[in-house]
């Protein structure tokens, strides 16, 4: 029985170079690598609206593929991608807010947090995040969901690291207040 050869993942620099040339294979690799993460951020940011999250995801990749030739590589590919995600989410949020002026489109048309996939606790946590302001929500998602450091979040959201810290500080206070009833009980259960 011979050794099983596992394909090495393509380095991001190669993927980026392929995207610059418009190589469909490189584009597909970028899509496969980031699609679920982009979709998840959009879904959490848009309060479970799956259709809107798919639109944002599509929009993000189209923009990334179109802008790839002019991407100068000053930031990491992921950071640049998250910046596009942040902009797309903000644009979508503004569009929904304006559309709501006319009296249609509730916050979530197709909530995806189904009972069989998430616990009550996770549902409460996700709901608390959804109630944050858009900028705080996005900051929290990039910090904890994507595990980005402050300076990467600052680049993605085009603000300073101090602003990121300030937003997180306020978000922590809000989350502590909203989820305080769960922390002690849940901790007891886990122990």
């Amino acid at each position: 029985m011979g050794n099983v050869r596992v394909a090495e993942p393509t380095p991001e620099t190669d993927i980026l170079e392929g995207c610059r040339r418009g190589d469909p294979e490189a584009q597909r690799q970028l899509f496969e690598r980031y699609r679920d993460r982009v979709f998840s951020i959009a879904l959490r940011f848009l309060k479970g609206d799956e259709a809107a999250a798919l639109d944002v995801t599509q929009d993000v990749f189209v923009k990334v593929f179109r802008a790839a030739p002019s991407f100068r590589g000053e930031a990491q590919l992921a950071t640049w991608l998250y910046r596009v995600v942040a902009n797309a989410c903000t644009d979508e949020f503004r569009r929904r807010r304006r559309t709501r002026f006319f009296g249609d489109l509730p916050d979530a048309i197709h909530p995806t947090t189904s009972p069989d996939r998430t616990s009550d606790v996770r549902t409460d946590v996700a709901a608390a995040v959804e109630r944050l302001s858009p900028t705080m929500r996005l900051t929290v998602l990039l910090r904890y969901f994507e595990d980005l450091p402050y300076h990467e979040i600052a680049r993605a959201m085009q603000c300073t690291a101090g602003t990121v810290a300030s937003r997180l500080h306020r978000a922590h206070a809000i989350l502590a207040r909203e989820l305080g009833h769960l922390t002690s009980a849940a901790a007891d259960v886990e122990e």
Binding site: P24, E32, F39, V62, R95, R122, Y144, F145, L175, A186
Partner: protein
């Protein structure tokens, strides 16, 4: 500032599940389709996006209404460059060509009729004219703000429906500017021009002198002379002759008596009193100073002095007082007597067309 988060909450946040794209292949196809869509389609999709602001909708609607009104106004008043001519009798000549059926008069061309022919002439989109026998008419200009003809000789009857001062007819000695009206203009072989206003009013200019001739009055301008005193169309021929001599500074003392005797009295209908008042208003400055008071008294017997006008001032031919009298005698659309909306509309139009 060091942000802190309850460790349990942080753990829950970090363990929120990554949601998977329901149908990655369909999404990939959608991305590729959008990525390779032609530019026109991309722009189309942008236009199909929901309206961004109700204010934008309101502004767009307002812009559409204003633009539509402006286009309609321009289309309504922009004349064609060639005006239709239809013979009524005989064989009128247009641009040197005898007209058998119908034709069109272009800028710079003459419409000529002989003693047995007549024709109708479309005045762009604002009216119609009847060109009488032995007439020569040339189309000078067909602009949006001015439509101008020359009447070298003959008779010309016009009915115009347009804002004031758009339609102008030049004769060898005068210029008749339409103020919204119907009128007849006759020019004899010497160039003497005679204006008879049937509806509305017409501004008659000769050199630097201008007068407004309202409905029911006639005014004449002779070669080398001045604008004649307007008079009522029913004035007797004898009184007309006397008036012409006064205008020509060749009157006998009895001429003024004849004219004053032909004027309406205080008991006559206001319309007729006003016609005589206009004649008398012109005469105050044209008769010898020794008889001005007599004319003025006849004027005030027909129409009371307006506020701010005195007998002494009028006899001294004070220009401001004369103007106040004029405004009293010509209660037309251009002056008082209408709402501020119509006055404002007229002012705006005049400002625009100038």
């Amino acid at each position: 500032m060091k942000p802190t988060l309850d460790p349990w909450v942080e753990r829950q946040l970090r363990h929120l599940p990554t949601e998977r794209v329901p149908d990655p292949d369909a999404l990939w196809d959608a991305i590729q389709t959008e990525l390779h869509a032609p530019r026109e389609r991309r722009r189309g999709s942008l236009w199909r996006r929901p309206v961004r602001s109700p204010l934008l909708v309101a502004a767009a609607a307002m812009l559409a209404v204003v633009s539509g009104a402006a286009v309609a106004a321009v289309r309504m008043y922009t004349p064609p460059t060639r005006w239709a001519v239809v013979p009524l009798a005989g064989a009128p000549v247009v641009g040197g060509r005898t007209l058998a059926d119908s034709g069109a008069l272009a800028e710079g061309e003459w419409l000529e009729t002989d003693g047995r022919s007549r024709a109708t002439l479309a005045l762009g989109r604002i009216g119609t004219a009847l060109v009488g026998p032995d007439s020569r008419v040339r189309l000078e200009r067909t602009g949006l703000t001015e439509q101008r003809l020359t009447l070298a000789r003959g008779s010309f009857h016009a009915a115009v429906s347009a804002p004031p001062r758009i339609f102008v007819v030049e004769t060898p000695v005068a210029r008749a500017t339409d103020l919204g009206c119907a009128y007849t203009l006759d020019v004899d072989s010497t160039g003497t021009s005679r204006l008879r206003v049937i509806a509305g009013s017409v501004e008659l200019r000769h050199g630097n002198a201008t007068t407004i001739v309202p409905m029911g009055l006639i005014a004449e301008v002779g070669v080398g002379g001045r604008i004649g005193t307007p008079y009522a169309k029913e004035l007797s021929p004898v009184a007309r002759e006397a008036l012409h001599r006064i205008d020509a500074d060749s009157a006998r003392p009895a001429d003024l008596d004849v004219v004053l005797g032909a004027m309406y009295g205080p008991d006559d209908h206001p319309t007729f009193r006003r016609r005589s008042a206009i004649t008398l208003w012109h005469l105050v400055g044209r008769v010898p100073p020794t008889r001005q008071a007599e004319v003025y008294d006849r004027l005030t017997a027909l129409v009371p002095e307006p506020p701010g006008v005195t007998r002494e001032g009028m006899l001294a031919l004070d220009r401001q007082m004369e103007e106040r009298w004029r405004e009293t005698l010509y209660p037309s659309w251009s002056d008082g007597g209408r709402t501020w909306v119509t006055r404002l509309g007229r002012r705006l139009w005049e400002w625009a067309v100038r």
